[in-house]
Symmetry: C2
Subunit: 338 residues, 2 copies
């Protein structure tokens, strides 16, 4: 592990503030002590650039993280990655679960500003984008994760939802599926729209047709996925042989619906999810799903906001990470084609 | 929802600091403005006691929360409850994932102290208890959740692990099970020891014998639970008809092992878990498990530490919450007794 300011302080038997003062030539610290600390920094190969430059300002070394719900595994895994990366640089992270409600977003932002956090990472849905532009006008450093705010100049890390949809389509087509359906969150959510757009494109590229009536919209909940999938399975006419679900929770609901309807997964129905949280590994069958690189996304968004803190004039970036398909056991060849 | 200082500030069109100053008779604020704020407080039925008393000191309104891993659903659900309760009182929570490593615990504590947090809630395992006694000697307010430190005078909220074990035993015995086994975490963990002690007691109370060889120890991981359960299922002699698993992850592993070994759950093997996180609802079959009241535990531990912050001389409490058995579909009558 890379040496941190904590290691230097521990080795020198001083506080991290003293190490910081030594680096910045501030505070009451003897020349001898300072040189000792520098020797330890050298020996431990400690790179002080980040901490040193930050400590010279009146920073609080604290960031706010606004997400819909820390008890949602997707956001818990993102939060863990941000926390780890932040801790390496001496930052800590205040968790703010918004339930995607603007009222809660506004309250949390007021709280974070009253604590003079150095910046805010935003992974929550916000209806009223004015909230963010007001934050920017007050010069609060921002970064977005897993959410877009294209109207704002703000550092952003997202997975390529469009490509994720394409990957799901290609996988299902390669298994011979031609009667396809989609379970999606509300289409107000830009990531869902992109996933479906990619899915359509993947089908169109190989000449497989797709009917808009095969999209069922659900809330972001297992029970809703179950309801939506039952609707698809119980319609008259030919049943779909595969369902692409825009997140893992909906896919879990679809597996439950298939069980209830006496439809075997994957023999009679293939199911693909999106996210690849811990949930995807515990379902039966384990879920084939489009994996978002959650750990990488979390680490990157911290690096972006840190860059912003170090240089206000840095050019804003939008980093789009490529998802990968994780094939488990919820997908198989269309019956008769195995 | 109860009115908070934010509501008063918003209604009055002032900052929360101004509301606080009005309450405490501090700062530059006209008599007229102060009276207006008091009227709004009255109208909104805002009870300022908590915030007001806290704001008079040099508080940071920030707490640290040390847990093994925010991406573990049990701790994510606890963290969400603490966050919600804290937010109601104007506090925010810094998340610290320790991986149960003392080195990380010490680093995080140094970081939290450098930020002058008002208190630290501890839900992580710590090998070297001196870390906590040193914290106490520096007068940092502490509270424990889901962990015990009986050598220290510290506010504590735990579920009654012993009773949880009894409930699991009673349930299985009522279904006719007599050949029972246990999958447990390392017995260094006090909660695991208590769960097993309760399970034994529940069996002894009704004269069902239990052999120590039927306990398999695993790490806290799904794969480990699977390995342990396979060991139990592949032993010579009579196979157990039921396994009590000391947490949901191990129970998920046991379900996977049964599937691999061609043993049907629950027809041939009943499985009981412990915790009742979101994972218990997505397994197949859904998991019968001892439910810890996670939300209630999180809310209570915040109230305890807040009480401590308001009155340093308050008597320390250890609150033990009764768990409940949530019966789903992973348990059934012994074959032939249905």
């Amino acid at each position: 592990m890379k040496a941190t300011i904590y290691d230097v302080a521990k080795e020198a038997g001083v506080s991290i503030a003293t190490v910081s003062n030594a680096i910045n030539g501030k505070g009451k610290i003897s020349k001898k002590r300072r040189e000792e600390i520098f020797k330890i920094m050298e020996r431990l190969q400690y790179q002080p650039s980040v901490i040193a430059s930050a400590l010279t300002g009146k920073k609080t070394f604290t960031l706010g993280l606004l997400i819909p719900d820390i008890s949602n595994p997707f956001f818990a895994e993102i939060a863990r990655a941000i926390e780890d990366e932040a801790h390496q640089s001496g930052y800590s992270v205040i968790i703010c679960s918004t339930d995607n409600k603007d009222e809660r977003v506004e309250r949390y932002i007021a709280l974070l500003e009253s604590k003079s956090v150095d910046g805010i990472i935003i992974g929550t849905g916000i209806d009223n984008m004015d909230i963010l532009s007001q934050l920017q006008s007050r010069s609060v450093p921002l970064a977005m994760i897993a959410r877009e705010a294209s109207s704002l100049a703000v550092d952003t890390v997202v997975a390529d939802d469009f490509v994720g949809g394409v990957l799901a389509a290609e996988h299902l087509v390669s298994l011979g599926h031609k009667r396809l359906a989609v379970l999606s969150e509300n289409l107000k959510v830009s990531s869902s729209r992109e996933r479906i757009r990619g899915f359509r494109q993947g089908l169109a590229d190989v000449g497989v047709s797709f009917d808009d009536n095969s999209i069922v919209i659900c809330e972001y909940k297992v029970e809703e996925g179950k309801r939506g999938a039952l609707e698809l399975l119980q319609r008259g006419g030919e049943r779909p042989t595969a369902i692409f679900c825009c997140n893992d929770l909906l896919a879990i609901g679809a597996i439950q619906a298939a069980k209830e309807a006496g439809v075997r997964v994957p023999e009679d129905l293939s199911i693909v999810g999106f996210d690849d949280t811990i949930l995807a590994t515990v379902t039966d069958p384990p879920l084939t799903t489009v994996a978002q690189p959650m750990e990488h996304m979390g680490k990157l968004v911290f690096k972006l906001i840190l860059g912003h803190l170090q240089n206000k004039d840095s050019i804003r970036q939008r980093i789009v990470l490529r998802p990968e398909l994780t094939i488990r056991q919820s997908t198989s060849h269309v019956a008769g084609e195995a």
